[in-house]
């Protein structure tokens, strides 16, 4: 980070006052009114029925200003594979939590279509800003699952290199990462790069002040950020109606002069279509957009949570019927894109990943306690060096005692 940047300084921030507002310009290019540009389509975008059949165009919710071309079969097959891996990762990790091998795991079981689409809509140089629940998105972006699990196993806070993977550390303090995403996009724009940044958050997170500040900064500075809200209906126990009285979360775009759209969050085809277009628009027009996906968290918030306290089993069952995995599988099989060979390959891939997770999480890894002092600053201060020495002495004494005890035991034998 100490070298200076030698790429030329990028396009200037737009001047304070423009003849046409951004909304007016983009909407008139699209031939629709500014309000129609900003407001989501009347219905959420959906390509597949819950049973996995392609809906007729007029039932997809699309329309003027809300057109979403369906991605190619190739892309969708690739997406399916990641979907399957994601599901397997979720369920393997949940099992490892039960076995006490992981400290915690907030599963995205049920939301994997969102996870996969969020990563796959991006180019290699684009950035992803995920939350604690977005492990599958991080993996889909190309981070090694074992590195991701470092945090959930309790070894260290983040186990991968955010800069290598253009994937920020998974954020726990809600909504804070949206601002980081905006800053990352701003940096790219200042350098004249055409990077797009996708920032993820949940429905509950939209209530935080940082949500407002992030969307507003992105709009005012015209930054290519796609804000992707996974609305799974709950923030731990608190239902959406306690978070918002807006008709939909996508309506929040209007307050920033942004376009908002709603998508069926369990329909991988619709998600891929909508997010890809959002990313394209963000890149070509250099604008932010808001996409809300309506989905469902099938399991409790984390292993520490008991969801029977706040939601009906009936509701959970209803959503099981809309599971994104089956839906996508049916569609691809019916279409002949997913044949037996492909299915077998996918399933093998899933098992390999799961096995490596099991092996790694069952291994005993013990981080070095002295490392606690190494990354507070780029160089430890005098104060930290003294504290490090104190701990080092303690550890040495303990080790010596341990050796003494051991020797005593061995002597006694």
């Amino acid at each position: 980070m100490s070298e200076s940047i030698d790429t030329p300084v990028g396009p200037p921030i737009p001047p304070a006052r423009q003849e046409l507002t951004l909304v007016e310009r983009v909407s008139s290019q699209m031939g629709i009114s500014p309000e129609d540009y900003m407001l989501p389509a009347e219905r959420e975008i959906r390509m597949l029925s819950p049973e996995g059949t392609l809906l007729p165009a007029e039932q997809q919710g699309t329309g003027p200003g809300h057109e979403y071309p369906i991605p190619s079969d190739e892309v969708l097959l690739e997406a399916y594979e990641r979907l399957m891996v994601g599901r397997r990762v979720n369920d393997q990790n949940t099992a490892l939590v039960r076995q006490g091998r992981l400290a915690v795991y907030p599963s995205s079981h049920g939301q994997e279509a969102c996870q996969v689409a969020a990563a796959m809509c991006l180019e290699d140089n684009d950035w992803l800003f995920p939350t604690y629940r977005d492990t599958v998105a991080v993996i889909s972006k190309g981070v090694d699952p074992l590195d991701v699990m470092v945090s959930f196993r309790g070894d260290w806070h983040c186990g991968y290199d955010p800069k290598e993977h253009k994937t920020a550390a998974q954020a726990t303090p809600l909504t804070t990462q949206l601002l980081h995403a905006v800053g990352a996009a701003h940096a790219a724009v200042l350098r004249g790069e055409d990077t797009v940044v996708l920032a993820m958050c949940g429905d509950g997170a939209t209530s935080e002040g940082d949500f407002h500040e992030a969307l507003n900064f992105a709009a005012v500075f015209r930054l290519p950020v796609v804000f992707f809200v996974q609305n799974n209906g709950y923030a731990i126990s608190v239902p959406l109606a306690r978070q918002s009285a807006a008709p939909t979360l996508a309506h929040k775009a209007v307050g920033y002069g942004m376009a908002g759209e709603r998508v069926d969050g369990n329909d991988l085809v619709a998600l891929m279509a909508a997010l890809r277009r959002a990313v394209d628009l963000a890149r070509t027009e250099r604008i932010p957009l808001l996409v809300e996906a309506h989905t469902y968290r099938m399991q409790a918030h984390t292993n520490a949570d008991d969801d029977t306290r706040y939601r009906e089993r009936e509701e959970v069952k209803e959503w099981a019927a809309k599971d994104p995995v089956l839906r996508m599988e049916t569609y691809l099989r019916d279409k002949g894109v997913l044949d037996e060979a492909a299915a077998a390959r996918v399933s093998e891939h899933c098992e390999t990943v799961a096995a490596s997770l099991r092996d790694a999480m069952n291994a005993d890894v013990n981080p070095d306690p002295l490392e606690m002092f190494d990354h507070v600053f780029s160089e430890p201060t005098q104060q930290l060096r003294e504290q490090r020495d104190w701990l080092a002495e303690e550890l040495a004494a303990e080790a010596a005692e341990g050796r003494a005890d051991q020797a005593a035991k061995e002597g006694a034998r």
Binding site: V238, R309, V376, L391
Partner: protein, 347 residues
């Protein structure tokens, strides 16, 4: 009110332990809701769910959803509306779900909650209790284990309470709610499941009899050689260390502060003047912390009674570490004993 209940693991106690720390808090909330109509309890997940630690369990059902309710997920919003509610005659008890998640509310706390009474020249009181489950030792992931009492103790206008026993969990939370001043009430997460043989109705009667020990420290264990000053999450560790030291022939007096603001200088100084040595134990990172303040005051006030420098055992000056490392970060019995050992006994 002078007996001090040590927190003992249930298995070791003679009679079956009845009351948990979390249960005592829950009862204090319930009794407060019953005692005064102006009390309202709100925050994230405190309603239907009963809180992620179940401290508000059953309150919404028993007292109605207008007395105990969930808010949108926004801590500044929770704190700011609590300020407004209190200004307009209510007595809010709000929960910040975890220590680090109170930070978004920091402006509302520092610029309004703490200052309103003073800003308005005493005309507006803000009787708000802010409950913060806090501290480490429970294997929590990042941002879930901060010891943040220093930020609040450093902010004039806030009272800061940290109970370390089941009895105090009940009594001090009721005091916090009844206080005309804003109180930041720290609940050591690792004590939530500690238990004591206490009868809730006795506690309630004690509290409602009007006896108070607000702002006063207690001597949690008598001793003669060295004074160990501590509070909240470190109290059980301190008592264990005192026990162990006794076996080595060092008699440790343990002072449980209970309240950081106001602070009971008299009890602390009386003990240090008696023992001639002092050690402060607290989980938070030590730099510019409550522990620093305690060391500073003790030497300011008891300098000529001191046989050796006042020492401290605190968390290191690092961000709270990952679960597998926390045991090395937190003050431990051994670390306390080492420091006691090192207190120039030859003098």
């Amino acid at each position: 009110m002078t007996t001090v209940t040590e927190t003992k693991p249930a298995a070791q106690s003679a009679k079956p332990a009845k009351l948990t720390f979390a249960g005592a808090l829950n009862a204090a909330l319930a009794h407060s809701l019953e005692a005064r109509q102006d009390v309202v309890v709100f925050g994230e997940d405190v309603g239907t769910l009963g809180g992620v630690f179940r401290v508000t369990d059953g309150l919404a059902a028993r007292y109605g959803t207008d007395r105990c309710f969930d808010t949108p997920l926004a801590e500044s919003g929770i704190m700011g509306t609590a300020v407004g509610m209190a200004l307009n005659g209510m007595r809010p008890v709000v929960e910040m779900q975890f220590d680090a998640f109170a930070y978004p509310a920091f402006e509302q706390v520092a610029s309004h909650l703490a200052k309103m009474h003073n800003r308005t020249r005493g005309r507006v009181e803000l009787p708000v209790a802010v409950r913060i489950p806090y501290g480490g030792g429970v294997g929590g992931v990042e941002h879930h284990c901060d010891s943040s009492e220093g930020y609040y103790a450093h902010t004039p206008g806030l009272k800061v309470y940290v109970p370390g026993t089941v009895e105090d969990a009940y009594l001090m939370l009721r005091e916090a709610i009844d206080s005309p001043d804003p109180v930041v009430f720290f609940e050591p997460k690792k004590l939530y499941w500690s238990k004591a043989d206490l009868d809730l109705e006795d506690l309630r009667a004690t509290y409602e009899s009007g006896e108070r020990r607000e702002g006063s420290a207690v001597v949690a264990r008598q001793g003669t050689d060295v004074t160990l000053v501590t509070y909240g999450p470190s109290l059980p560790t301190a008592l264990k260390a005192a026990e162990a030291a006794a076996e080595d022939g060092v008699s440790v007096e343990v002072v449980d502060l209970r309240s950081i603001v106001p602070l009971d200088d008299d009890t602390v100084c009386a003990s240090v003047e008696k023992t001639g040595r002092a050690l402060v134990v607290a989980e938070a990172q030590g730099f510019a912390s409550v522990a620093s303040e305690l060391v500073a005051r003790i030497q300011e006030r008891c300098f000529h009674s001191l046989a050796s420098p006042v020492r401290r055992v605190t968390g290191f000056d690092i961000p709270y570490p990952a679960p597998k490392l926390e045991e090395h970060h937190l003050p431990s019995v051994d670390r306390i004993l080492d420091v006691i050992d090192d207190m120039q006994w030859e003098d």
